[in-house]
């Protein structure tokens, strides 16, 4: 069998890698995933599990809408039982609260822009409406935005479901297998030297997350990526009072109440990443900002005890959206990383669109905004 033909190696068996593997394997490709740890060890499993189109960057919006469609019918992708285990809760809504004039005016601008683009998913909320939807919200709230179809899912279970679905479709996963070097084969395709041996395939997909730029560098390609460690706080269980996910606009605010009653507080506060050691640390010195933003919005929560914090490693690009597409001059090497802390929701669409592009041999127009070329020198405008 010609190695070029319909074979793919995917570096990184996180959610994006497994999702791409699933779609490719279903299209009849032979797919092997290589992971330096175990599948889904990092950002895929330890993110907050938000399923949101609310406040999505316009460039991500179409992909995000497609992803929502997949989440709504997750059973078709991963099977009914696995879909159940993912605890997908859509329709609880995500709400962005405007706590000052600047945030309110941004909100108004956002809604006008939605209308201009013919999108209807985000509705403006008055002060009264937002307070009614969010019991305990400060009287200072001026209004907000709601995306009623949004929600959340269990990230670890979802990562597992995609992984198992990819394997069921025929993808092979090699764990504890660090990639040591990449080499482009003379007639096209790639040879990968890894800890557990040599692998070859017609297409190589770099889904290495926080290590994406390192893998790109092995192929001689430079892509800008900062390794970050988004962190979260979890409180003791409290009386259920909040169904929607609450996010801030200019404030490091993001929280939801879990099914058991604990509050999961994020907001993009960053810990200390040590990508070379596969680990990261939460930094309590940075938590006051997130705690203060939460209390500014919900003053009654001051006495709720914070029980623990957590963090994980993620890659962030300079412009806040991922790199998805072939490398410069390498149609058989794709980069799919740098999701900047909001890749969980996108993952089924990423698998779908990247898979479709690889199978057809043409980059899907949905991926145009994500080309790594946008970072090329001299193209900064």
């Amino acid at each position: 069998m010609p190695r070029q033909n319909e074979t793919a190696l995917i570096i990184g068996a996180g959610l994006q890698g497994c999702s791409i593997a699933l779609f490719l394997a279903r299209a009849g490709w032979r797919v092997t995933l290589l992971d330096k740890n175990v599948a889904g060890r990092h950002a895929s499993s330890v993110n907050a599990g938000g399923l949101r189109t609310l406040m999505r960057d316009w460039r991500e919006y179409p992909l995000s809408e497609l992803a929502m469609e997949h989440w709504r019918h997750l059973d078709r992708l991963v099977g009914a039982g696995a879909a159940e285990s993912c605890e997908v809760r859509l329709g609880v809504g995500q709400i962005a609260v405007a706590l000052d004039e600047a945030e309110m005016s941004w909100t108004l601008g956002r809604v006008q822009e939605m209308e201009r683009r013919g999108l209807g998913a985000e509705e403006l909320l008055s002060a009264t409406e937002v307070r009614k939807m969010l019991p305990g919200l400060t009287d200072q709230a001026l209004g907000g935005l709601v995306s009623r179809g949004d929600g959340h899912a269990n990230p670890a279970a979802s990562t597992r479901a995609f992984r198992q679905a990819a394997m069921a479709a025929g993808a092979k996963i090699v764990e504890n297998c660090r990639v040591l070097g990449l080499e482009r084969l003379p007639g096209g395709g790639w040879s990968v030297a890894a800890a557990s041996g040599q692998y070859e395939a017609g297409v190589l997909v770099n889904c290495a997350g926080a290590w994406g730029a390192q893998v790109a560098a092995m192929a001689g390609q430079t892509l800008p990526l900062k390794v970050v460690a988004p962190s979260m706080m979890v409180t003791a269980r409290t009386q259920p009072f909040l169904e929607p996910v609450v996010i801030g606009i200019d404030r490091p605010l993001s929280f939801k109440q879990s099914a058991v009653g604990s509050l999961v507080i994020g907001g993009g506060i960053l810990g200390k990443p040590y990508a070379d050691h596969d680990t990261s640390f939460t930094v309590m010195d940075r938590m006051p900002e997130g705690a203060a933003a939460t209390l500014e919005a919900f003053p009654a929560l001051a006495h709720v005890p914070v029980l623990r914090t957590w963090t994980g490693l993620e890659g962030a690009t300079p412009d806040g959206i991922p790199v998805i597409g072939p490398g410069e001059g390498t149609p058989d090497l794709w980069h799919v990383f740098g999701f900047c802390g909001h890749g969980f929701q996108l993952s089924p669409a990423v698998g779908d669109v990247v898979g479709r592009s690889l199978v057809s041999g043409t980059v899907d127009p949905l991926l145009a905004p994500f080309s790594g070329r946008r970072f090329d020198a001299g193209d900064a405008a």
Binding site: V234, Y274, A292, L301, V306, G325
Partner: protein
């Protein structure tokens, strides 16, 4: 512009105000060093001398009989507490901060504290962890029923609450504290229905070869307790196994096996005790190296003889050398005398690290050796009993999340083969206790299922290791300016209409 590290708030920060912490604080203050002592309790004394000051002042007959029952070992702390108090508030001296919980310790000497709704960081040039021991967690069938308590908890209620237990009381387990408490209860007019020991005569016989001259006094003391219980007609058994507590709303009966025969006793209060082990939540979260103490089936921090810990972090992850020392029962179970002796040794080592003095004196080191010389005997005479065998599948291991040993075993077998993966999957250790109670059992289950040997693995400890109110987090003081540079994911989308990106179609 470079930002400097924050200045230290004191020469030394001591965590814990029991015998070891007080002895060290006094030694350091005598040498003119500034010391901050952080302690959870409202008054100095730790667990052993809990509420001693207040109880010494209580001249009521009930107070006097309590003091008599608690005995001379309890009153022995009075002198040290007096000396500690003499330095409190002096300048330089001891800045004593009671009712203060420590929720993070970093190898560089930064200590996170919480007092009421206030929290923050303080920094010491050196830090001494004297946070003591905890009772060995003992998961057995029914251990989470109301009416099952540990011996330490009963002593706390006696000393600080002046509460005496009543009804049909069964004591089960092993160790000096169990016998001491049985005697104290008897002296207070509370006659236990049964003292059931897991240790056997053969343990004592084997232990005898460890006897050193220094161990004779505790031995005589222990034989005295046993003799008095016998005289009082308290029923006693040895070699107790397979303890279980039964009841619906609370404990109604206990059952156990002795000599191959299953017995059941009606019971209103089951007091259990399986020895004490070093509390390792602070050292573990601080990233200090731990070692496994096989005979005691417990972790303890790996330290030099003067208590200096070793950070497990690679140098690039830690800011400077590790300045954490561990002393007292937090380092190695030895009781109050050993704790006081080692507190002085650790303080002398700290003084040397602060360019003062030549380090621990031969006298001080000898005193530690003498106080610890009885431990091999006690360890052999009172081996872990209730927690010796791993719990049955139906027994709860993690009480915060109500997880049984069977649920954990199943997850381990299905592939969650390291502690953090197991925690992430099951939530074991994620509750308010942050694994203090369940970690050792989960680690032993994991080792047993994976047939691993060596030091059992721990959960990764992240701050806060004790709960902090959200309002206190919002106003944390003493932050490190190098760490607080605003670092968030700045990913708010622009409302600008330019949405086309020049991306060439492939």
């Amino acid at each position: 512009m470079s930002i400097n590290a924050p200045l230290p708030d004191a020469d030394v920060i001591i965590v814990g105000c029991g015998p070891a912490g007080m002895a060290a604080a006094v030694t350091l203050a005598e040498a003119g060093r500034s010391v901050i002592v952080l302690d959870m309790q409202p008054a100095p004394g730790g667990q052993i001398f809990r509420s001693l000051e207040a109880n010494l002042c209580d001249t009521s007959p009930a107070g006097q009989s309590l003091l008599a029952a608690l005995g001379p070992a309890y009153r022995a702390g009075a002198d040290l507490i007096r000396r500690f108090r003499a330095f409190s508030g002096a300048c330089p001296g001891i800045d004593y901060r009671p009712q203060t919980t420590v929720w993070e310790v970093r190898p560089d000497g930064t200590v996170g504290w919480l007092q009421g709704m206030n929290a923050g960081y303080v920094r010491g040039r050196q830090v001494l962890l004297a946070h003591g021991a905890m009772e060995r967690p003992v998961p057995f069938p029914g251990w989470t029923l109301p009416g099952v308590m540990t011996a330490g908890a009963v002593q706390t209620l006696l000393k600080a609450g002046h509460l005496k237990p009543s009804g049909r009381i069964v004591l089960a387990g092993t160790g000096p504290l169990l016998l001491l408490l049985a005697n104290q209860l008897h002296q207070l007019g509370v006659k236990p229905a049964l003292v059931g020991r897991t240790d056997r005569l053969s343990d004592s016989v084997r232990a005898a070869r460890h006897l050193r001259p220094g161990g004779l006094v505790p031995l005589v003391k222990g034989l005295g307790w046993l003799g008095r219980l016998k005289l009082a007609g308290v029923k006693s058994v040895t070699g107790l196994e397979n303890l279980a507590a039964h009841g619906t709303q609370n404990v109604e009966s206990v059952s156990f096996t002795v000599g191959g025969k299953r017995q059941t006793l009606p019971c209103d209060l089951l007091i259990v005790h399986d020895g004490i082990v070093p509390a390792i939540d602070i050292p573990n979260a601080a990233g200090l190296r731990l070692q496994w103490d096989g005979p005691n089936a417990s972790w303890r921090p790996a330290t030099t003889p003067d208590g200096l810990g070793a950070s497990t972090l690679p140098p690039e992850m830690s800011a400077g050398p590790c300045v954490l020392r561990v002393t007292g029962d937090a380092r190695r179970i030895g009781g109050a005398d050993a704790a006081m002796a080692h507190g002085r040794v650790a303080a002398q080592a700290i003084l040397a690290a602060l360019d003062h003095g030549a380090g621990p004196s031969a006298d001080a080191l000898r005193a530690v050796g003498k106080a610890l010389s009885v431990r091999p005997f006690l360890d052999a005479a009172f081996p872990p009993g209730l927690a010796q065998a791993l719990p049955d599948d139906d027994t709860i291991v993690c009480r915060c999340e109500e997880l049984t040993a069977g649920e954990l075993r199943e997850k381990i077998r299905s592939g969650f083969r390291n502690m953090d993966a197991l925690r992430g999957e099951t939530r074991c250790g994620m509750g308010p206790c942050q694994g203090r109670s369940c970690m050792v059992t989960a680690a032993r289950l994991l080792q047993n299922e994976t047939r691993a040997a060596g030091c059992p693995p721990t959960f990764r400890g992240r701050p806060p290791i004790r709960p902090i109110p959200l309002g206190a987090v919002a106003t944390l003081s003493g932050l490190d300016p190098r760490a607080t540079i605003r670092l968030t994911l700045e990913d708010k989308p622009e409302n600008a209409s330019e949405d086309t990106v020049d991306a060439p179609a492939e």
